[in-house]
């Protein structure tokens, strides 16, 4: 049993950095395309929905619809960037490219690798979320300097979604299975968590369900920061995101242990 743990857990507090740096080096070669790819989608939603629907919706929660939507899109972009990095890129490194296998020949453990991948996915989520935040701020849809409070939350949101996606990566036999996670988990979350309209619009049972979803906690922290409003229940939201970051990490490490070291 101790052997199982030793292989699945990080060996120390810094081994993961080597994995992060490997991914950073690979990313640097395609940085521009990667940034544009991560920013384009949420930008289109922000301005497409923001201005298009904004005309119909008018003001919402005491602010313009674009400004309301900005917080939701920042959180969503962090969710998507972290998820896609984990289910596609990390899966490729684990499966087809055998990068993880090569790393396991060294003194790194599976736990080190998973931690490095999570930190890297959170970094990409941070870049994507921060990109949207900067644009929203420059255009006057987010308030300076309170917007700065959103930045650590974006990173934590990225970590939580990377960690969740890592469980899916550990379980999926092939790429084909990821589409279920996207359509059955991520897309519903977008509508249940107040990204595009207030949670209060939902039937009561869905409102209750939203309390358990990580994106709702991320939005409840990010939106007030962008709108320069006080955020309620900060401890609860941060705690919930931390649980989503930590528990799936251990679960995925154990699943990878079973999958890669039979």
């Amino acid at each position: 049993m101790r052997e199982l743990c030793a292989a699945a857990l990080p060996a120390n507090a810094w081994n993961w950095i080597a994995v992060w740096r490997r991914n950073y080096l690979a990313w640097k070669k395609v940085a521009l395309a990667s940034i544009l790819g991560n920013l384009a989608d949420p930008m289109i939603y922000l301005f497409g929905l923001g201005f298009g629907l904004g005309v119909v919706v008018g003001r919402i929660d005491g602010t313009s619809y674009v400004a309301f939507l900005a917080g939701g899109m920042v959180a969503t972009s962090a969710m998507t960037a972290a998820t896609f990095e984990t289910i596609y890129a990390a899966f490729a490194r684990m499966h087809a490219q055998r990068t993880w296998e090569a790393i396991l020949y060294t003194q790194l453990t599976l736990g080190d690798i998973v931690l490095g991948e999570l930190a890297w996915a959170a970094t990409k989520a941070f870049l994507a979320g921060t990109g949207i935040t900067v644009v929203a701020t420059l255009l006057g849809y987010a308030a300076w300097p309170s917007v700065l409070y959103a930045l650590p939350v974006i990173a934590l949101t990225g970590l939580a979604f990377a960690s969740l996606a890592m469980v899916i990566t550990a379980l999926a036999p092939s790429y084909d299975y990821f589409v279920f996670y996207q359509t059955l988990v991520l897309t519903p979350m977008l509508f249940l968590c107040g990204a595009v309209f207030p949670v209060a619009q939902l039937p009561n049972v869905f409102q209750q369900a939203a309390h358990f979803l990580p994106l709702a906690h991320a939005i409840d922290l990010i939106r007030p920061a962008l709108l320069s409003r006080p955020a309620g229940n900060m401890g609860l939201h941060i705690g919930a995101l931390c649980i989503y970051a930590v528990l799936p990490f251990f679960l995925s490490a154990a699943l990878f242990r079973r999958r890669l070291m039979p």
Partner: protein, 304 residues
């Protein structure tokens, strides 16, 4: 410093009800080249993975470089270099970047890795390719880069799973020559192979495997001498059964495999004499090799 690099004692492994390794024991001395020889599915790769602590045995004890594996495999792996069966280099990186990134996994600083990269490239004969992307390299160059990568932590032990499978003869000979220079430097090598020639040329000792069991162990030439010990005549064409009765009085042993008849003859001239006048026969007389040993021990050929 222990003189035993690897000690396997009574190791077994079952995957999904199938026994892959069956009560296997062997010892590899420090500084020797030890070969695991057997056909595909004999359990060679599983043994290599178990030595690295990447697969846990169901039964038995494994000690590598004085450290119990898999319990403290991380400690052992810090002093092991690995050349896997399938290349897992970073294709989007250059040769240099591959080495740099891999060195960091061993906790080396960028400066430390950069200091040894020139000597590794020289060893792998890749000096002119430092800035080439891995995707531009030939199969032989990729293998040599993998070998250089395996040396980045200055390992005492090299674990190689089919190091020359899929290479052309020229590339294969270059790898063999590089491996001999590593042995000359005192490194210990354990390699898996299904190439008889590779096993004969490189290995000080061999463990011949079939279905996860050891069927013979020893120095390649000693094994050949002990199991065969005479010239071999391969006979093609003709009816194997007819020929069998004709030459059996003069043969120590005869094996039929497919359309080929293997005649193990202390006095090959007598056999040739018997076959004179049989039209359409092709005869090939040669010294015995490990293929014959495997045929003798298992009743079948290793490849095919």
């Amino acid at each position: 410093m222990s003189t035993v690099a690897i000690d396997l004692a009574g190791v077994s492994k079952t995957y999904e009800g199938k026994v892959v390794v069956d009560g296997l024991s062997f010892r590899v001395a420090a500084g020797e080249c030890f070969g695991l020889l057997g056909p595909n599915g004999a359990g060679k790769s599983t043994i290599a993975r178990m030595v690295l602590g990447m697969t846990s045995p169901d039964a038995g004890e494994i000690t590598v470089l004085g450290v119990p594996v898999p319990a403290r495999a991380r400690l052992a792996r810090a002093r092991i270099g690995v050349v896997p069966q399938f290349d897992n280099l970073d294709l989007e990186f250059t040769v240099r970047e591959n080495l740099l990134v891999f060195g960091r996994y061993f906790g080396m600083s960028t400066r430390e890795v950069e200091a040894i990269i020139p000597s590794l490239l020289e060893f792998a004969r890749l000096e002119s390719k430092a800035h080439a992307r891995v995707s531009e390299l030939s199969g032989g160059m990729k293998r040599r880069l993998t070998l250089a990568r395996a040396l980045i932590n200055d390992p005492q032990l090299l674990v190689m799973d089919e190091p020359t499978t899929g290479l052309d003869p020229h590339a294969r000979h270059l790898i063999w020559e590089r491996l001999r220079s590593l042995l000359a430097r005192g490194k210990t090598i354990i390699l898996t192979t299904h190439f008889m020639e590779e096993a004969e040329r490189l290995c000080d000792r061999l463990c011949v495997l079939e279905k996860g069991r050891k069927i013979a162990e020893g120095h390649p030439h000693a094994l050949i001498e002990e199991q065969i010990g005479c010239q071999v005549i391969e006979i093609y064409g003709g009816n194997p059964h007819e020929l069998h009765s004709l030459i059996s009085p003069y043969a120590q042993r005869i094996e039929v495999s497919g359309e080929t008849l293997f005649c193990y003859a202390p006095d090959p001239e007598q056999v040739r004499l018997q076959l004179r006048g049989h039209a359409g026969l092709r005869l090939l007389q040669r010294p015995p090799n490990l293929e014959d040993v495997f045929l003798r021990l298992t009743g079948r050929e290793m490849e095919k």
